[in-house]
Amino acid sequence: MDWIDTLLIPAIKAIVVTLGLLVGFAYMTLAERKICARFQLRYGPNQAGPFGIFQPIADALKAIFKEEVIPEHVDKWLYVLCPVLAMVPAILAFAVIPVGRPIVIAGHTITLQVADINVGLLYPMAVAGLGAYGIVLGGWSSNNNYSLLGALRTTAQIISYELPMALSLVSLVIVTGTLRMSGIVEYQAALPLIVLQPIGFLIYFICGLAETNRSPFDFPETENELISGYNTEYGGIKFALFFMAEYINMIVVSALVATLFLGGWQGPILPGWLWFFIKTAVMLFVFVWVRASLPRARYDKLMHFCWKFLTPLAVVNLLVTAAVVLILRG
């Protein structure tokens, strides 16, 4: 009966996570439109079903049945490949996030995460980094000035935010002493890490905004300068895939913040998965809230901010954390 533990359960978990993320994406688009609308004193979509709950289905059908347009001047191979290249890493990154307390069914202990690998923290960083290739190559293969500029801004952005992001997580690892996600969550049983690492949290969240290309750092799109940036030449379901990648990235970053800084599924009274869901939802709300509040920064300002402020701040945070941990351990 070994194959149940090694093959069947992980496969089921993978399918559930993938489907869950796709449904999450669909309803995140609705939630964002409704929340954004409320910030602007509107109602948002409310015609398709009660509270507009069928709006994502209508949008999906529309995207699928649109004509498949491939412009003549594009690099066809890359052009078709890139939406997938953006989308797949976004889903993959969720694999290491524990969504609840391990459960026992018929003698099998099931951890509520697809894979509890010992370099759990490195994995989403590495995979999410790949997602940028979809955007960069998508802009390049479109063979269009606006797309190319959007892609260039993505590259400028990625070399700026990755360093402080990684450094903020290093100080977190020094505190917890493990890279394993389940270990990090267990460490937060008494106290969420946001209390011990408030600066690390802020740095990670700001970099998360940049990583998911969300306002105020949505330079790859910059719709009032670059039409639609890297996805200008895309339409129909290929555009929808880029869109999906952005929203699933948002969900992943929110889930990571919830897991790493807000205590993951740890919490009193309510079941673990519900705590995880609440924390992720709060972070997603903050994403939309920031979008509704702040204007877009200039992309050289982001580079300036990341290299000249966030990186030194993350280094100082790292040194102070290391020193304090060293002193406390004697």
Binding site: R38, F39, L41, Y43, V290, S293, L294, F305, K308, F309
Partner: protein, 156 residues
Amino acid sequence: MSIGNVVKGFYQILKAMAVTLKYFFTKPLTVQYPKEKIRLYPRFRGRHELQRRPDGLELCVGCGLCAAICPARAIYVEAAENTDDTRFSATERYARLYEINYTRCIFCGFCEEACPTGALKLGHEFALARASRGDLVMGKETLLQPATPHAIILED
């Protein structure tokens, strides 16, 4: 980028986000139009309504002053004599043809002011979309109908 600037910027971002959050909890201004009625002020100027006397005779005497003052030249009036058999208005003449072209009308209300008998009033009807341009030239039979706008008329 001094520390003071960063702290100030951070404070200002938080302040901005507090402002937007306040609006998040405010009731939306949207009027869900076909379900809810639009609120209109009494002096709102919509489609014209030709008035009648209490005994049913038309007030319009076909003088054409409205057509003369109309800055958009939207009104066309053709007068004719009343006879004892066919009487439309109390006076000598009446408007045989009275047409307003709503592709031209700018709803300025000059016609209402020019009218010597008070026959012409700009009502509250605002839903004037039609399927063809011809339908937007409205004749007497339409203009004599009192409108029932999908709106709440507010007190002045």
